[in-house]
């Protein structure tokens, strides 16, 4: 969240306020209402899914409006009475989930005000604590990362601040800061927010309400809305694609480095005239802008952004083309249908061909990922959360992904087992032990045992000159890994294959399986296959298109 430009570097010293009465409180609430109205659309835009709370900003605003209406004409000076009337109005006008929670917050706050004349810092703290307690009372299973969490963090910050100071405005300032921080953390607590790349809308609304009070007491404007900026990594743009507006056919994403300080408000304003679904992300001095536009205007965002800085990257996609296809990862992959109660296998796959093989062997979901392109915990979690069973086995198929898989396992209520498969052949060997109707523990055990039955070779090109395991590697040479350990560096692929096959004791084994990568063509593969066949005539040889990047060959011997 960026402050409005006019706020920056303003260091206004306002006088210490020890307590306020009902009328003063009323004018603070009026400021909240105005500030909430100003930012209504911004809060509405923090939409995650098409359930109840679609219009959080509007719902909270209508609730606050109804609350304020109860006190607007009142000349009552006792804060206790004003707070009670306010809470009553909020209750009567509560709209939507967030409105109901907000009315509970005011109800708790009012209870703390009791019948008192004025509110000092201590009473304000008590009000926030009661507000939090009452809000939590209203739900059996409080979900963290929502408005409830923000209310809780505000109460905790207020309690601390009141130790330091008895200046009401000082305490309010600390509370607003804490609310802002808390809102910022909501995606860490609630995965669905992280997936959508937004913060919690109800929490944001509560922050706005408190911030409105602070702004008015500092004399800041309440008319110019805040502009949303999120961290770049939080921008999960594929979710935005699900809602393509009529006529908005193109998605344009522009990365740029602004010249000097970016006037976000101004920048945003211009974008709203070009298109819809606007998002702006920020990270390490760089900004990313996302927008949906009409076909004719697809170059406008680029021209426009150029006025603000140096463009580093542009991506443009035709949304109408895309909505015909399946999700980005799926690519029409036919995965096994899982019945409730069965065991579902989630496989991480580095290439399309390997994905198809896993799918044909009964994987219920395949997540793209491998060396240098590790899938996130969220991607793994998402792959199985919607499967209609709670017995899940994950095959990470890369040692760098095991940890992400384990953390995905710890974030769900489903029973998830992570098999420590460090490469694709181990994963394939494991999935062959799958019996969807079997016992989860015994299948897990069988899969674990299967990992050691197989010898794996990976053949790739060295990207730098180095010495590992007493093997001298020169950049550009072909290197061979046997069960993950570097064993040889040679100048050609054939030698690399034979080096592995002899290390793996192939003469004692029955079958050789080769998965060839995206960086090698079929004739070359056939040529090498013929050589292997003539050297190991007794072993069965299978060749599959793996489609993995970087690795020319992944070979298994069993």
């Amino acid at each position: 969240m960026a402050e409005n430009p006019q706020d920056q570097n303003q260091d206004i010293h306002f006088q210490v306020i020890h307590s306020i009465d009902g009328q003063e409180f009323k004018s603070l609430v009026q400021a909240s209402l105005t500030w909430l109205r100003t930012n209504q659309q911004m809060i509405n835009s923090l939409n995650v899914f098409p359930v109840p709370d679609g219009d959080t900003g509007t719902n909270m605003l209508l609730t606050m409006q109804s609350a304020y209406n109860e006190i607007a004409e009142s000349d009552e000076t006792r804060i206790g009475r004003i707070a009670h009337d306010l809470a009553q109005g909020a209750l009567l006008g509560a709209r939507g989930n967030s409105g109901v929670i907000l009315s509970q917050i005011w109800r708790g706050f009012a209870r703390a005000m009791d019948n008192l004349e004025t509110m000092d810092a201590d009473l304000f703290v008590k009000g926030l604590v009661e507000a939090k307690n009452t809000a939590y009372k209203g739900v059996v299973r409080p979900v963290e990362g929502t408005i409830l969490t923000v209310a809780k963090d505000m109460a905790a910050a207020a309690e601390e601040a009141a130790f330091e100071s008895n200046d009401l405005m000082k305490v309010l300032e600390t509370v607003v800061e804490a609310a802002n921080e808390s809102v910022r953390r909501t995606p860490e607590l609630l995965p669905i927010l992280k997936q959508a790349g937004v913060v919690d809308s109800g929490g944001k609304g509560l922050y706005i309400i408190l911030e409105g009070m602070l702004r008015s007491s500092k004399g800041f404007s309440l008319e110019t809305p805040l502009v949303m900026v999120q961290p770049i990594e939080g921008m999960k743009l594929q979710n935005v694609k699900e809602s393509v507006e009529e006529g908005q056919d193109y998605e344009v994403v522009v990365d740029f480095k602004p010249e000097g300080n970016l006037d976000l408000h101004n920048f945003y304003e211009g974008l709203t005239e070009i298109g819809t679904s606007i998002q702006v992300g920020e990270g390490e001095g760089m900004y990313r802008m996302h927008i949906h536009v009409e076909t004719d205007r697809r170059y406008d965002p680029i021209d426009y952004t150029m006025k603000f800085g140096t463009i580093t990257k542009v991506a443009m996609e035709n949304l109408i083309e895309q909505t015909g296809g399946i999700g980005a990862d799926g690519k029409g992959l036919e995965v096994a249908e899982i019945q409730p109660g069965q065991i579902a296998v989630v496989a991480i796959s580095p290439g399309d061909g390997i994905s198809r093989i896993f799918a044909s062997l009964g994987a219920a979901a395949v997540v793209q990922g491998g060396q240098t392109m590790n899938p996130s915990t969220e991607e793994i979690l998402r792959s199985f959360e919607n499967l209609p069973t709670d017995k899940i086995i994950i095959l990470p198929n890369n040692k760098n992904i095991i940890l992400a898989a384990q953390s995905a396992a710890s974030m769900t209520v489903k029973s998830v087992r992570v098999i420590r498969s460090k490469n694709v052949p181990q994963g394939l060997s494991a999935i062959l032990r799958l019996d969807p109707d079997g016992d989860l523990d015994s299948i897990e055990k069988q899969m674990d045992e299967s990992l050691t039955d197989i010898e794996t070779g990976e053949i790739t090109t060295a990207t730098r000159t180095v010495q590992i395991n007493n093997v001298d590697v020169k950049e550009g040479e072909v290197i061979v890994l046997h069960n993950g350990q570097l064993i040889e560096s040679t100048t050609n692929l054939e030698d690399a294959c034979f080096e592995f096959l002899s290390c793996a004791g192939t003469t004692e084994r029955e079958r050789i399986t080769i998965f060839y990568g995206a960086n090698i063509d079929r004739p070359k593969v056939n040529e090498i296959a013929d050589l292997i066949r003539s050297k190991y005539p007794k072993q069965e040889l299978e060749i599959h298109e793996g489609g993995q990047p970087f690795y020319q060959f992944i070979i298994s011997v069993e």
Partner: protein, 118 residues
Amino acid sequence: MAELNKSLGNIYMSHYALATIASESALESYGVVGISGKNVVNGIAKVLVKDPTLGVNIEFENENLIIDIFVIIEYGTRVQSVANSVSENIKYQVEKSTGLTVSQVNVHVRGLRISYTD
């Protein structure tokens, strides 16, 4: 039993399964503090139930689901808003996870729990 046609055969969903989804969705809704038994007589309506089928009734009509749910709501919340979000949440969750269409969700408020009297 709800039935979904699939190319390879049929999927049957029991009332129990559907009731579980409905009652879990209700309990996630803000303001709902419990599921009440649908058959309990007045006076002891506040008896909370664990078994989801006891507080949820599911009927089928023209391939659509009609769901009745019996809930206890926190005193001091706006009952109408809470009930609205309960029905929206149930409709969304049941349709999302089963692919069936929910035509009606009737929310029966069987009681209020009083935590604070104000």
